[in-house]
């Protein structure tokens, strides 16, 4: 029986109830005693149902006393003259204890059901919340928050790292510092007590344990059950989040591998193509020594030279790419004449099919630009190299530079097949060419390097269709600096 404290409110209500019955009694004066006693019995019953056995007994004794004092002869005394009155007292007491006991059981039952219902709705709400959690961190945060909410204390949730030495994932709700993972694990295995914390450990399907801690020295049975209940639900969500994590990692690893394979393939292609010309031409000179005309010998040797230069450009591109990727490109801008850069890029490309005519139109205000000359020259070489490669034999390549504040634009257009609209952005991806099947040579790294270099200057480069005709237009945009 739980009667640890006196329920003063209950005592007051019980007293009022009995007094109310007494007050109503004179109205029913005309009724016989036995019936009058039923009135008090009703009050006792109500008190019993509401407050349990203790107050029911109190109410029954009070009822008997009032009943005896006012309503049984001799009136206004507590003297008991009739045996029937004793019987009434006994009935009062028996009724009180019986109904009080029943009522108490009923109340307990209702209270249990209510807790169970609350717990179910709590877990259900938590479950719904967990369904939306995508990451391990989020699930841990939800556990900590909900446990803290339920217990009213600081709570943490910790998932140790997958391998020994990996940092654990953890979340804490409250202001206190989470204890070290080793201390938590020792406390969970029961080896050691963790002062100020109670730890519950939960095993996931993947065999990894998650620990939930509440900042309290003792966690009583009901709360411990509730915390485990919350934890067990969270484990499912945690397993799912871990799985998603693993999948994402695997995908990243496979993408990295693909990129590495693409790089390797690109490097081997870009290096081998000029080498094929060099070895082919040089071996022809050696093998066919006697039967070669002077002109053919010269043509072969020129091919060796120009292809060696091309090889050098590819190597330069690869070095630039590595530097761009590592953020090691340091700009030292200076005033240069764009006409010089175009001319020098053209000289470096002289080995490319000479039939392609390059028409250069640089408007006067676009002549002087404030850039890192070598890099912009490399950009022009790469773009012109592409343009010649895609141009028909007698195609014209146009370089047009003009100002449209606050930019300087350099448009380089060719009369080749052009780039389908869908691919115009992708051609600037490193290794795009390799992925799309190496139909052309030396373009993959080239354009992506151009973009890196131009962006380092605060500008951009984009691909377009030529206005009024076939072909590709590469537009370089550079910020215009005020003249010195």
């Amino acid at each position: 029986m739980r009667l640890k404290r006196i329920n003063w409110r209950g005592v007051l209500i019980a007293t009022i109830g009995v007094l109310a019955a007494a007050a109503m009694a004179p109205i029913l004066q005309r009724l016989p005693h036995a019936n009058l006693s039923l009135l008090f019995m009703t009050a006792v019953l109500l008190v019993a149902a509401r407050y349990g056995l203790g107050l029911a007994l109190y109410a029954s004794i009070l009822s008997f006393l009032i009943f005896n004092f006012f309503f049984t002869p001799p009136f206004l005394t507590f003297a008991v003259t009739e045996e029937g009155d004793v019987a009434t007292l006994v009935f009062f007491l028996v009724m009180a204890s019986l109904t009080g006991h029943l009522a108490a059981r009923m109340r307990d039952e209702i209270a249990t059901r209510k807790t169970a219902l609350e717990r179910i709705s709590l877990l259900e709400g938590f479950n719904r919340q967990l369904a939306g959690a995508a990451s391990v961190a989020e699930v841990l945060r939800m556990i900590a928050a909900r446990v803290s909410e339920v217990t009213g204390k600081t709570a943490f949730a910790v998932l140790p790292g997958a391998a020994p030495g990996d940092p654990p994932a953890q979340a804490v709700n409250g202001t206190d510092k989470v204890p070290g993972i080793d201390d938590i694990m020792r406390a969970a295995s029961g080896d050691e007590h963790l002062p100020g914390w109670s730890v519950v450990s939960l095993k996931s399907h993947q065999g990894r344990s998650t620990y939930i801690g509440v900042q309290t020295d003792t966690l009583d049975g009901v709360l411990r059950n509730l915390v485990s209940g919350l934890g067990n639900q969270a484990i499912v969500a945690l397993d799912r989040a871990l799985l998603v994590n693993d999948l994402a990692k695997q995908r990243m690893a496979s993408e990295r591998d693909q990129l590495r394979a693409a790089l390797l393939s690109s490097v081997s292609h870009d290096l081998r193509t000029p080498l094929a010309s060099i070895i082919g031409s040089a071996s022809s000179v050696v093998e066919l020594d006697g039967s070669l005309s002077q002109a053919n010998r010269k043509a072969l040797l020129e091919a060796v030279l120009s292809e060696a230069e091309r090889l050098d450009r590819h190597i330069q591109n690869m070095l630039d790419m590595a530097r761009l990727a590592q953020g090691e490109l340091i700009l030292t801008p200076d005033w240069v004449d764009l006409r010089d850069l175009v001319a020098s890029a053209g000289r470096r490309l002289r080995a490319l099919p000479a039939a392609n005519k390059v028409r250069v139109e640089i408007e006067p205000e676009a002549e002087l630009i404030h850039v890192h000359g070598d890099l912009i020259e490399q950009v022009l070489v790469n773009v012109l190299d592409n343009a010649t490669r895609y141009s028909p034999e007698d195609g014209v390549i146009r370089v047009h530079a003009y100002v449209s504040e606050p930019w300087i634009f350099i448009d380089i257009s060719d009369q080749g097949p052009g780039i389908p609209e869908a691919d115009r952005e992708r051609v600037f991806d490193a290794f795009y060419r390799v992925i799309s099947g190496d139909k052309q040579t030396g373009t993959g790294l080239g354009l992506s390097i151009c973009r890196g270099m131009i962006r380092a200057h605060g500008g951009d480069v984009s691909a377009h269709a030529c206005v009024g005709g076939t072909g590709c237009l590469i537009r370089i945009r550079l910020p215009r600096s005020p003249r010195p």
Partner: protein, 236 residues
Amino acid sequence: MPENGAAPSAAQILIVEDEAHIRKFLRIALEANGYEVIESRRGEEGLDLALKHSPSLIILDLGLPDIDGQAVISRLREWCETPILVMSVRSDEREIVRALDSGANDYVTKPAGIAELLARIRVLLRDQDPDQSETGIVECGTLQIDLARRLVTQDGALVRLTRKEYELLRLLTIGAGRVLTHEELLAEIWGPEFARETHHLRVLVSSLRHKIGDDPGAPEYILTEKGVGYRLLAES
């Protein structure tokens, strides 16, 4: 051979290659060896030229600007048997096997010297020669293969071969210098259903090499093309 000393019926070779410098040295070297050369830098144009000129041989690059070289092979094989020599920087064995399986006759991985290329071309053109019948006697180093009487002798001494060993040697001999893919050899010797059972072939090649005294480390007769197949080292 003098540069302009081409035979009256000079073999015509079509080059389909997008690299100008490669076309250039091929043209010079081939013309110096008495071949007539036509060239194209695109696949579609190459197909047109093949139809128009019926060349004796086609040298084909796999990486073309318009259509893939593999597609060019398939389309050529729909209507002509002209030998195709694939020249590619793609050293991936699967690419090579795919090209050979779809009808290419041989391949050279770039970069390659002109001598190797010319040797392959000679082999392919000789294959075409109707004079070379299967009934002749073929000599390969110290080895003499009598295709009519199915006899193999080495330095005059008879080499005893099993039926399958002889069949392998015969196929390599007919292919003289041309690469034969694993699949091709397996299908010929064991039947098409064995086309993937390369281990049978390895065992057979090993026993044949043993009998004709060929060292796989420094082969005199049978050259292993790793991941692709085998070829008989032709005299050059």
